[in-house]
């Protein structure tokens, strides 16, 4: 009897790209649900819109590039990129901002570089930075969780806000939007107000801002689940949050009235989301174990620097992109010692 031959190994692999991406998406659900709870339907509408745009762009680009639709459209990487973008923008972001951001992410940052696996920069963060720089006003439309809870905007009202820019009778944008806790700290410190005084405002909770701290905790839960399932490695989240804690702790000990506490840094903004879901994007992050520690530490340090002395209240997207740029260099210098050799590339 004759058989077809194949190269070893002859055991079916245990993992697949869409299972990896699928688990990441699953882990995003608690945090996304918490965000919806505090900021209203806008979060869900943004996620749905961004995912739809991402899939449409993915399909379009695959067609233009003459690539098969099936394995790529179902690998869930486009869904993940769209979802992460939607979590980064304010809950009532106008629809066209999402369109531009996600479109840029998928077309320019992903497919023009060769598609899945070939993009040197995190597509969701590229898209976010593009809209952050291009439409600064729209990007500051963060809502106040307490006001939203009081108003309880209905689904149709939220739809109208996002797609037509109109708010229900008697409401103005000024009434419902509010600076984020990170913004407040940055502005306050800029005005030489002591942090203890800034934090007496009702926008601040136990760890970070009201609502924000809980959202972070739910994202943390998802992230820990990913760690436990070994979908992501521990190096990047630990190095990033560790460095952020260390740096902010150091400055906080020096002067707690000018520098916010480590707890505040960790549980505000996108620190947790970034550490577990964004900086860990395997394609654009470092791949060596040591390299991932350096990559994570770099993101953490840059986040602290930008938040404390930079022009933006949150610096995660910039930090990730800047470190993406460093990846080839990091990977080159952090090759592990090969078994039986004294150092990388040298005979033992």
């Amino acid at each position: 009897m004759r058989f077809k031959t194949f190269s070893s190994p002859h055991m079916a692999p245990a993992r697949s790209v869409n299972r990896v991406m699928g688990q990441v998406l699953l882990a995003l659900i608690p945090g996304t649900a918490a965000m919806t709870w505090y900021f209203g339907w806008g979060v869900l509408i943004n996620v749905s819109l961004a995912v739809t745009v991402a899939l449409a762009c993915e399909a379009l680009m695959l067609l233009l590039r003459g690539r098969p639709l099936t394995p790529h459209i179902t690998d869930l990487s486009a869904v993940l990129a769209g979802w992460l973008f939607a979590l980064a923008v304010p809950p009532l972001t106008p629809w066209w901002v999402t369109l531009v951001g996600v479109g840029f992410a998928m077309i320019m940052a992903k497919h023009l570089y060769g598609g899945l696996g070939y993009n040197p920069f995190n597509p969701a963060m590229v898209g976010y930075v593009v809209v952050l720089i291009s439409f600064p006003r729209e990007m500051t439309l963060w809502l106040s969780p307490s006001v939203i809870a009081e108003l309880n905007l209905s689904l149709p009202q939220t739809f109208a806000a996002i797609f037509t820019g109109t708010l229900p009778e008697g409401l103005t944008w000024d009434m419902i939007t509010a600076a984020t806790p990170l913004d407040r700290i940055q502005t306050g410190v800029g005005l030489e107000q002591p942090i203890s005084q800034i934090q007496t405002s009702p926008f601040f909770g136990y760890l970070g801002g009201v609502g924000w701290e809980w959202i972070s905790l739910w994202f943390l839960l998802g992230g820990l689940w990913l760690l436990k399932r070994r979908v992501i490695g521990w190096q990047i989240p630990v190095a990033m949050l560790g460095t952020l804690t260390l740096l902010s702790g150091l400055f906080w000990l020096i002067n707690p009235e000018v520098y916010a506490s480590p707890l505040f840094h960790i549980f505000s903004g996108a620190a947790i989301l970034g550490a577990f879901f964004i900086a860990t994007d395997p394609v654009s992050a470092s791949t060596t174990p040591k390299g991932r520690l350096i990559f994570g530490a770099g993101v953490g340090a840059l986040v602290f620097v930008i938040r404390t002395w930079g022009g933006y209240a949150e610096g995660l997207a910039f930090s990730v992109l800047l470190m993406n740029m460093m990846v080839p260099l990091i990977d080159h210098y952090t090759q592990p010692r090969v078994f039986g050799k004294t150092s990388a590339g040298k005979e033992g």
Binding site: F3, S7, P9, H10, A12, S16, D75, G340
Partner: protein
Amino acid sequence: MTATPHKLWQFHGGVQLPEHKAESTTEPVAAAPLPRQLILPLRQHIGEAATPVVKRGERVKKGQIIARSDTYVGAHLHAPTSGRIALVGDQPVPHPSGLSAPCIVIEVDGEDDWGDSRMPPIEDYRNIDPVKLRNRVRDAGIVGMGGAAFPAAVKLNPRPHQKIDTLVINGAECEPYITCDDMLMRTQAEAVIAGMHLVRRALKPERCLIGIEDNKPEAIRAMTEALGSEAQDNIRIVSIPSIYPTGGERQLVRVLTGREVPSEGLPADVGVVCHNVGTLAAIYRAVVLGEPLISRLVTVTGSGVHRPRNLQVYLGTPVADLIALAGGYTDDVERLIMGGPMMGFALASDAVPIIKGGNCIIAARAADVERPGPVMPCIRCGECVKTCPASLLPQQLYWFSRARDFEKAQEYSLFDCIECGCCAHVCPSNIPLVQYYRFAKNEIWSQERERRQAEAAKQRHELRRERLQREEREKAERMKRKQATTQQTATTATTAHTGEDPKQAVIRAALARAQARKAEQAGENNNENR
């Protein structure tokens, strides 16, 4: 038992695989009957192929040497049974290439007659002289039975500067499906232990560590029993965690001794020699029973056969016969593999024979072997980095191999890859990584070969040019010398006014003849022109 537990070390990476070992261990080991024909490839391991010493039509006895290998890294080939040589020529052999190679085919006469070919049994084997032992192992054609089939006598002969303090016995059998070492230890533990004592005579190690994966409790029990009261701190059976590829030589040495075999070195460089349990049993049989290596235990398993089991098989038995003994193929059999599922190679046909290193035959169904999805781009997830037992960066090696950047691939230690397949097994993108590394290695080897050939050709060319120049020079010198002597004689002749010497006369005569011929030719030419 031993007093203190043995300290275990770890190697980087590795994977936990579904074992699939229980399928083939439920039935006792059976002896496969003699087939009609035995096919014995002349090359069964690295190094030179053996040279046939029998001719077509010749009758051979069981145990008779039919092909010799007198190089250091070589092993003789013996007739597994008595019969007539049917053919000395090319036959399909079990090799990844699927090509044919020189073989000796024996038509079995069914008498299984030793004649006087059996080597004399050595009764007092416990006091055997190391040189005698090595010669016996050589004469018996024994090679490593774990799959690599490296001639065993070489590993009983450490170089003078190498102090061997540890003998590692490999009973790990870490690849899924394979159970022949397990069954061997269960059923022939005494032979293995006796073989170990023989090897100890040759190497004189301070300690002896028998590593068996903890998924083989019965083998561990049988071996412990066979070792009996001889178990001491310096001879011990060590149960090791079942992590693939812990049975790889370098990995096992690391786990048991904590030593790292240098990248381009051998275990002997760190004072260790490693033998497989099957090799030890073969050594025992050669010394105590006088039997050369003519049969081996083979696991025939997989979901593609009806009755997975272990068989004692005459070398040269066609795989198809073993499949029949294992209940035949299932209807949906898809792939036939020699060796384990991780490092074995797929056979193109079941007409090929079992060779010395052939420990396992797997008949697999599509669901066991097929990639679950299409090959996707590498997403740099780094799972392969986590599992690589050589601490390489498989994703980078893949990248360089794909880009044919072989220099860079070598810089990233491509040749430290043992092709264990861990990276490909964990790859979420389904990339056949090992295939890329094999491709890159082969390309580098063939480039190297071409370079060497080109160099040899260049050398030949230069030598030829030099030779021609030398000849030219010598000719010129000869001419000069001759001229000089002629002139001298001429001068002497004119100055001395003596009569012509005979030599001079001959030359003059020849010159005259030549001139005459020239004149004649010139005349003819003139005639023609007219």
